[in-house]
């Protein structure tokens, strides 16, 4: 159908201009936007280095599973706290860069922004942990839940410590104290065996209990962080 004919058909179907359109549309409340969409939006604005840090932790898992099966879990335990530390730093970006007030006044509010960021990064970190645990377990013969607990415990410890530090006056002033905590936990995970901490010899039950407790503590810190975000603005 050629353009001229389309134009004729359009003209044939023309009707009187609506008279109440503008007034109605200006009163209309916008449709809701779901949390998933919000998370994806925030994920797009999370800095690349956060994803690199999360993804980089996969490398020793995959390498370690095939080259150093005995030490792979230790290496993972040493790297993942830094992923947690970088993730914690992302939660304070709004405050650090004086964007909190502007974000607070938008539809989604600052709390939603921070929550969405945590969710996006947490989901990727969880994926890395589970994939790594699967790869390491396949190689080492240890059960997947045990391996998962062993490599997630340092991550959770760093996340919990980092979030706690962030809400102290000292932590609020000095943005990298949470990373210092991650470094300490990483050092413990890597060198613990050398100073007599026989963590790898702990039974599965102990690892599961430890990572379970750390997960609860971390979840609590996340809730406290979110409840306090509105004070940032």
């Amino acid at each position: 159908m050629n353009r001229a004919l389309r134009a004729q058909i359009r003209a044939a179907f023309s009707y009187p201009e609506p008279t109440r359109k503008r007034a109605f549309l200006r009163k209309l409340r916008p449709p809701g936007v779901g949390m998933i969409e919000m998370v994806l939006t925030q994920a797009a604005y999370i800095r690349g280095r956060v994803w690199v840090a999360a993804g980089a932790a996969l490398i020793p898992a995959l390498l370690g599973a095939f080259r150093l099966p005995g030490n792979a879990a230790r290496l993972m335990g040493a790297l993942l706290p830094f992923s947690a530390g970088i993730a914690v730093l992302e939660t304070r970006r709004s405050r650090d860069y004086s964007m909190a007030e502007l974000e607070r006044a938008t539809r989604f509010s600052l709390r939603s922004v921070v929550f969405a960021r945590m969710l996006a990064i947490g989901a990727v970190d969880l994926g890395v942990i589970l994939l790594s645990a699967a790869a390491l377990s396949a190689r080492s013969g240890l059960p997947v839940p045990r391996t998962t607990a062993e490599i997630s415990a340092p991550f959770l410890a760093a996340a919990w410590a980092g979030l706690y530090i962030e809400r102290t006056p000292l932590g609020r002033r000095h943005g990298h104290l949470s990373m210092a905590a991650s470094a300490l936990i990483s050092a413990l995970a890597l060198g613990g065996e050398d100073v007599g901490l026989s963590l790898s010899a702990l039974p599965s039950g102990a690892w599961m209990a430890a990572s379970g407790a750390l997960a609860v503590l971390t979840a609590r810190e996340v809730c406290i962080t979110l409840s306090r975000t509105e004070e940032w603005a």
């Binding site: 409340r29 916008p30 964007m99 502007l102 539809r107 989604f108 603005a233």
Partner: protein, 243 residues
């Protein structure tokens, strides 16, 4: 639409930053005049829902300021604002378009339109940190307008703008005031004279005067100097306005 503030107060410890301020605003431009420390910024932050009042309430046609529906109507430019260092001008406006619930296609279109309106199309790809103060302020104005707000709150919006930018800004605000409620705070009297239909004046946390200001009231600048000079008390203000 009516933006209503009902006996808004904000207290910090023993100090009262805003003291039982009440008013109703309709479509049009209102200028809020006051010296530094008068409580303008605190008032504006309560009107945007960023700050919880100690007492009193804010609503727009009954929609409370604490709700998502209220914030969806809102555009806000604070006195000071930052930016993420990796953001370009376009990224900055697009980011807020996303937070205000615009879909990507609309966000892109509105961003380009507004960058054109504020004279930043040529700088759209530049990092925010490379901009001058005036350009950054214009980017801030663009993000405030990206969702075509029905309530626009601007805190010292002309700070840092050169004369040409100020003229462009005044024209933009007059246009938006034709269909939205615009409240801007300033201590630059000429901005109010040129743009505002209505004037409110704050001193020591209280609203000391509000109404239409026209030539029959005399010079706004003189009135303002009298009202906000060091020796001017509340009584002097009322006498000067003939109230």
């Amino acid at each position: 639409m009516i933006l209503r503030a009902d006996r808004l107060s904000k207290q910090y410890g023993n100090g009262i930053a805003v003291d039982r301020v009440s008013f109703e605003l309709r479509e049009g431009v209102t200028g809020l005049l006051g010296a530094n420390g008068a409580g303008k910024t605190t008032l504006m932050r309560m009107l945007t829902g960023v700050l919880m009042p100690t007492s009193g309430a804010v609503d727009a046609d009954g929609i409370p300021a604490s709700s998502e529906a209220y914030r969806a109507l809102l555009g806000y430019l604070p006195q000071d604002f930052g930016y993420y260092p990796e953001f370009t001008v376009r990224d900055f406006v697009m980011y807020f378009a996303a937070l205000k619930g615009l879909d990507r296609r609309t966000a892109r279109r509105r961003t380009e339109e507004l960058l054109e309106r504020v004279g930043l199309s040529g700088a759209a790809g530049r990092r925010m940190k490379t901009l001058s103060g005036g350009m950054r302020q214009r980017a801030g104005i663009a993000q405030a307008l990206v969702n075509d707000p029905r309530i626009l709150i601007l805190d010292e919006p002309t700070a840092g703008l050169d004369p040409g930018e100020r003229v462009r800004f005044r024209k933009l605000i007059r246009e938006i005031g034709g269909r939205s409620i615009v409240l801007f705070s300033t201590h630059i009297v000429s901005d109010v004279e040129h743009i505002a239909d209505h004037v409110m004046m704050m001193k020591a946390g209280r609203l000391i005067w509000r109404g239409k200001w026209d030539a029959s009231n005399g010079s706004l600048e003189e009135f303002y100097m009298k009202a906000f000079g060091e020796d001017a008390g509340h009584e002097t203000v009322c006498d000067a306005a003939g109230l």
